[in-house]
């Protein structure tokens, strides 16, 4: 039976009978449908709608345009699964049939949020997560009708309303994750909030506190620096006194983040049984470790060397993804959300062997694309690490491409508690080798 689904969060999608129909509709028709659907409880006079969507100075032409667009809508979107007309029109009015069933993402979002007890929101973590998944972008993100002042104002109004709800939800989730000791999830949420508004000092303060909780003094100090830089560069102000005090407190403290106290034990490459990251300079040592690990077979070893291909963007990450896909069961790989695979597909077509239906959506700015690819591969690694311990061996690290290098730094910085194990070797004089070491929970540089 035919079903109407409208997704207004992010880029507009209108699905009728399981098929996208947006391209069959004019922008105005899509706008009218969105407006009627979002106001399903209201009946609109035709004249008002005509003036709303067209220039009211020529009401006859506006009426004609409305009539035509309603006709096209009704031609495509007919009766619902119960045989009810979805769009009801008569000579003077039109509306969405109140008896009809259709799906609208913002209704789902509102319904879930409505049932959340504000005072006891802790009980609703799953619901909040569900809404987070729904919010794939701003309300009608790319949808704008020229010369439709009132419609666009309605869009801005709804956009603000949904965005405020979403930000509130992110606040709640970050609080809940932190309270449940899921610090890395809390960090992800806060990073997302910083992406939305990088000028909110309290977000950096929250991040600092979480890193302190994790015992990562350096990361906490880095967040402070980051906060100072952004406030200075964008607003030419310094942080609040309370933030400064917090910083001074951290600076004075001697708490160092070090998961790896027993260096001697980890020095022995053949007895590796805990999380580690090693930077080696000697190929012989590297090969020795690799051979040793091959014999033990206790962990999944991904050998992903670098080649002199500096100009080929993402080649190392792409190879890594390919090797991970080859090394894990399809059922395990399928546990990763499709939207992450969509982003990873941008650098590795082997993703289609996991799920043929995955497609690349939209053209992104280089920066956004990079962020999403990084995030996708990060999520993939973190998911697989939960299934099996992974050791990534990187030979000739100095040849790594720029994007992959950035990714490794990003990954190591963000995921210091994830048991990813990394053994690299490369040219001792290479800047990248030394830079990466700053981000590693380094056991030994084996000079």
């Amino acid at each position: 039976m035919a079903k109407l689904e409208i997704y207004m969060l992010g880029n507009l999608k209108i699905i009728w009978d399981n098929k996208p129909i947006l391209e069959k509709l004019s922008n105005k028709a899509a706008g009218i449908l969105c407006y009627l659907a979002a106001n399903r409880e209201k009946k609109f006079s035709r004249d008002k709608l005509a003036a709303y969507f067209w220039d009211s100075s020529n009401i006859d032409s506006a009426r004609y345009n409305l009539r035509y667009n309603l006709w096209t809508l009704r031609k495509i979107i007919k009766k619902d699964e119960n045989g009810e007309e979805i769009i009801l029109t008569n000579k003077d009015t039109c509306r969405i049939n109140p008896k009809t069933k259709f799906y609208l993402d913002i209704f789902e979002m509102n319904d879930i949020l409505k049932d959340i007890d504000e005072k006891n929101f802790k009980k609703h973590k799953n619901d909040l997560e569900k809404v987070k998944k729904l919010y794939v972008g701003e309300f009608l993100e790319e949808f704008y009708l020229k010369k439709c002042i009132e419609f666009n104002d309605w869009t801005f109004y709804e956009r603000e309303k949904t965005q405020r709800k979403y930000i509130d939800l992110l606040h709640k989730l970050s609080y809940l994750y932190e309270a449940d000791d899921e610090c890395h999830r809390a960090i992800d949420i806060l990073e997302e909030m910083i992406m939305i508004n990088p000028l909110k000092e309290e977000l950096y303060v929250q991040l600092i506190k979480i890193y302190i909780k994790l015992g990562d003094r350096n990361a906490a100090l880095n967040q402070y620096e980051r906060c100072c830089t952004i406030l200075r560069e964008e607003l030419n102000i310094g942080p609040m006194e309370s933030t400064k005090k917090l910083y001074e407190k951290i600076k004075k403290s001697n708490t160092e983040f070090n998961q790896f106290n027993n260096l001697e034990e980890k020095m022995n490459p053949y007895k590796i049984d805990i999380n580690f990251q090693i930077a080696l300079y000697s190929k012989e040592q590297f090969k020795g470790i690799r051979a040793g690990l091959c014999k033990t077979r206790e962990k999944m070893m991904i050998n992903n060397p670098c080649y002199p291909l500096n100009n080929v963007a993402y080649y190392w990450m792409s190879n890594l993804v390919e090797k991970l896909i080859f090394s894990f069961h399809k059922e395990d790989l399928k546990k990763l959300e499709t939207y992450y695979w969509q982003d990873i597909l941008r650098i590795q077509s082997r993703v289609l062997s996991v799920d043929e239906s995955v497609t690349i959506n939209g053209s992104l700015s280089i920066k956004t694309e990079k962020t999403r690819i990084f995030n996708g591969v990060e999520q993939l690694i973190n998911m697989l690490v939960k299934i099996e311990n992974i050791i990534i061996m990187i030979e000739d690290f100095h040849y790594i491409d720029g994007e992959s290098f950035e990714f490794l730094k990003y990954y190591l910085f963000k995921n210091q508690n994830v048991p990813i194990e990394l053994i690299i070797c490369g040219d001792i004089k290479n800047k990248k080798m030394n830079e990466l070491k700053k981000y590693m929970n380094l056991i030994d540089s084996c000079k």
């Binding site: 002042i149 801005f156 405020r164 930000i167 200075r232 030419n236 310094g238 400064k244």
Partner: protein, 517 residues
């Protein structure tokens, strides 16, 4: 003797060197001064010269330095719609409507310089008004001080605004009116500047450099990135500086020492705003403003913050510069250097104070003691320093007379590098020299030779280039400007009328106008 690339003879060559201060001819080979002298010594080179120019008494001076330029912003502003002259909302809308004919649909129309106090309605236009004149273009208008933005609906739609941020001005139906201030404006500005392509930056910068060359500029200091600007500007200059026709030294306007070090840059700061400006009554004065006793300006850093930052630059051997206009801001930067030098004594960084418009005599002496130099803009005095102009309005007569005391500064032994602060004032060193000599306050005016040094050898010194640029000497780069008059001899009131006839960069004639007449 091999081939001579360029020979310039029969001129008045002001070398700014103690030995041979005035010569008649100069010979250039491989981009450098190979020989120069007085009399007939050039004749032996005539036959070997690819290009030999008889200057016929014209004056040749070292290529000019402009030591403080916002290069990318000047370039982008030159491509933007200038609304500084409009008188009404209607005029604004007409200008924007005209602009829609020049810019492709969907592309941002950027406008600058709007000051609602200068238009009859005394208000800014709203989103709906802008929609009517540019329905197919996103519009972004910058208020004159860059801290307020006005956008139309399409721009508002395209920009990602966090609605819980401060500074979104709302209309009666509680939707954004299109006017964004403070944080909201900063976020929008960042997004729009982020969207601008480097091709656009290049187009603007090329336009500016072409103009700079016509004014005799062969080297400049670009103050890029940071507050009110965009780091992409700094990155653009960093990536492209080697391909510009003249030398561009980058001052990355950030407090992020690590970022600058990672790029291998040796200097940091520039217009790092310790205070604001007289015009907006935000320069940090010790006494209140003359025309608004409720304020004596703003300090944007705490002493601890600036101390920390300056200390980091000393620790990492960076040259640092910061914008300080009023006495309180000047005091703050002096203290920060004092603090840093108490920990790292004896380093010669040629650290600079930009603008330093209202220093006290004690501050001048303290700056000298700390080994600092000043980067100043004499043209400010030309535009705002005379009786009845902006300085007097804001500061009153007594303080107006204390502003930019060039002569005292030089007498105290400090070095001044001259700049324009383009596009605050036009990039035009001749005007700068004129303004330094013809200071509205007689006792602050300097001699023409000292003014010339501000825009040549002092500029070179200010970026550690004095050993190969800034004066005319064997072995130094052949960067010259040919002038139709001798700035040392012309009646001082007429210096600004001097014409640049040629600009020569490393022996290459980049600009020529009536040179060979």
């Amino acid at each position: 003797m091999g081939q001579v690339d360029l020979l310039l003879y029969n001129g008045i060559i002001i070398s700014l060197e103690e030995e041979k201060p005035i010569c008649n001819w100069v010979m250039v080979k491989m981009g450098k001064v190979f020989d120069l002298g007085i009399g007939d010594g050039y004749k032996s080179y005539l036959n070997q010269s690819i290009d030999a120019i008889n200057l016929k008494g014209k004056t040749l001076v070292p290529g000019f330095y402009d030591s403080h330029v916002h290069l990318v912003q000047t370039g982008l502003n030159s491509l933007s719609l200038d609304l500084s002259h409009v008188n009404s909302i209607k005029e604004i809308l007409n200008c924007i409507e005209e602009e829609t004919q020049k810019i492709s649909k969907g592309e941002f129309i950027r406008a600058i310089g709007l000051d609602e106090l200068k238009i009859k309605e005394k208000r800014l236009p709203n989103r709906y008004e802008l929609d009517l004149c540019a329905p197919n273009h996103p519009v972004w208008i910058n208020r004159v001080e860059y801290h307020t933005s006005i956008v139309n609906s399409l721009a508002l739609h395209k920009l990602r605004i966090p609605y819980d941020t401060d500074g979104i001005i709302r209309n009666e139906n509680h939707t954004p009116s299109g006017v964004l201030t403070g944080r909201a404006s900063a976020l929008v500005r960042k997004q729009i500047l982020n969207k601008l392509s480097n091709r656009m930056r290049l187009k603007g910068v090329n336009h500016v450099l072409e103009n700079a060359i016509e004014k005799g500029v062969t080297s400049l200091n670009a103050m890029e990135g940071g507050f009110t600007f965009h780091d992409k500007d700094a990155e653009f200059v960093y990536e492209n500086k080697d391909s510009f026709p003249i030398d561009v030294s980058l001052f990355y306007q950030t407090i992020n020492v690590k970022k600058v070090l990672e790029k291998g840059l040796r200097r940091i700061g520039g217009a790092l705003f310790l205070d604001g400006s007289f015009g907006s009554r935000t320069a940090a004065l010790s006494e209140p403003y003359f025309d608004d006793a409720s304020t004596n300006g703003k300090l944007y850093f705490s002493q601890d913050e600036i101390n920390d930052f300056i200390l980091k630059t000393y620790k990492n051997d960076l040259q640092v510069s910061a914008h300080a206009i009023g006495e309180r801001a000047i005091e703050q930067i002096l203290r920060a250097h004092e603090y840093a030098q108490s920990i790292y004594p004896g380093k010669e960084h040629r650290n600079r104070i930009e603008h330093c418009e209202l220093p006290s005599i004690d501050q001048i002496r303290k700056a000298k003691k700390l080994g600092l130099m000043l980067s100043m803009q004499p043209a400010y005095e030309y535009f705002w320093g005379s009786s009845g102009q902006m300085y007097e309005k804001r500061l009153g007569e007594t303080r107006r007379k204390k502003a930019n005391p060039f002569k005292t500064i030089l007498e105290e032994g400090l070095i001044i590098a001259g700049g324009s602060d383009s596009d605050v004032t036009p990039m035009n060193p001749i005007l700068g020299i004129h303004a330094a000599v013809n200071h509205p306050v007689l006792e602050h005016g300097v001699s023409p030779i000292d003014a010339l040094k501000m825009f040549t050898i002092n500029g070179a010194y200010a970026v550690f280039e004095d050993h190969f640029k800034g004066s005319i000497k064997e072995g130094k780069y052949a960067d010259f400007v040919v002038l139709n008059e001798d700035p040392l001899k012309i009646q001082k009131e007429k210096i600004k009328e001097i014409q640049v006839l040629a600009t020569i960069k490393e022996g290459n004639i980049l600009y020529e106008n009536n040179l060979r007449d």
